[in-house]
Amino acid sequence: MVAKNYYFVEGFVETSAGRVTRVATKLAWPDFFGKLRARLGLRRDSYLVSPGLYCVGQPDHQSPVLVTANYKLTFDALRSQLGGLDAWILVLDTFGVNVWCAAGKKNFSTRELVRRIELCGLSEIVSHRRLILPQLGAPGVAAHQVKKESGFEVKWGPIRAADLKKYLADGLQATPVMREVTFSLSERMVLVPVELTILLKPSFYVLALVLLLSGIGPDFFSVSRAWGRGSAAFGAYGLGVLAGAGLVPLLLPWIPGRQFFLKGIEMGVLVVTGAFLLWGKMIGSGLESLALISFVIAVSSYTAMNFTGATPFTSLSGVEKEMRQGLPVQIAALVVAIVGWLASPFF
């Protein structure tokens, strides 16, 4: 697998436990291409590097050992911050998932770490007994357990690879800022394309269903009505997605309220208002407009609520609680939308 991705390999370092691959600390164009693809949510599952030991620079038996996951984006984020350093990189098998999510699912784990230390013969390669792990690996790795089972002491490094150099220079001391997760505009922005990609497949079903329901009328079914009303309804769906999966992530801290389903409703109302101002009129009858507005709001509320899975501050207990309130509202809005939409051709 390494051979396939040979472009980031710079050479090899001979150790008493065999050859270790030395990787580049500058990213090349395939890395950027891969990053772009992964950020779009395409073939993210198979974007990985082989687990095992790598290095940057010319490390020796005293060099630090940095532990990471085998998601290629994570690996790249780490090595691109290590220019000018001599260090070992121990890549755990997390099935191509980033450190935090893998730690949550217990793949970035005490067991995998202890096993990987042995498989790589790490204790023959370094004379010290210290590992630097990203702090976000802590849900899966119990430092005291690792010490007991492998003899290696776990040092919790900073959350972001960008802080690693300073952390190393300061004698493995992290500032409080390095230890706290952030969720800046740019961090939220990169998540939007993935949110949209996830919705691609369900959207085809929605489209099919919407066309079917839109064609029903007094004369049973009409293709031209399916087409005309169907595109209006699918447009409403698009507005809902725009509000819930686009505006909510981007404007998150500024939207009033704490619950995501409410934020979704708010943004749904905003895009509906915007659409009316833009077109300056209702679409079809009052009943049809009511149905479309309900549809926008059901979709924006649900897609916003689903975004909780991508944020670094929502607790599972909190999400379950908000869903018990949000889902009934969304279902009610959807029922109003469907009933109104089906009924309107008969009036």
């Binding site: 702090q135 919790w156 899975g309 909190g318 609680k321």
Partner: protein
């Protein structure tokens, strides 16, 4: 993260204070700065900041901390599957969560 607050009073996070040996692991690993160790004793200083990631509980050497043990990701699609099919049977939405 003080500019991002989720719902108050919902997190399942408990400390058995008499077990604590004040090692400081919880304060180090928490990504939301929920803990503070003062005079060999951990205290929860920002309960509502907790996102139930489990880092503190995993790393407490004396198992003094309890966090919601469900390690699923917090997206709606996952929770609906869990509700419909029961605990343990849910598949997450791939690596797309988080």
């Amino acid at each position: 993260m003080k500019n991002f607050r989720y719902m108050a009073g919902v997190a399942i996070l408990k400390l058995e204070a008499d077990k604590c040996i004040g090692c400081g692991a919880c304060e180090t690993v928490c990504p939301h700065r929920v803990w503070k160790v003062e005079g060999r004793q951990a205290v929860i200083v920002d309960y509502d900041g907790c996102m139930e990631c489990g880092a503190c509980a995993t790393n407490c050497p004396v198992a003094a901390i309890t966090v919601n043990p469900d390690d699923g990701c917090g997206c709606a699609a996952y929770i609906i599957q869990k509700w419909l099919k029961g605990e343990g049977s849910e598949a997450c939405c791939g690596s797309n969560c988080c």
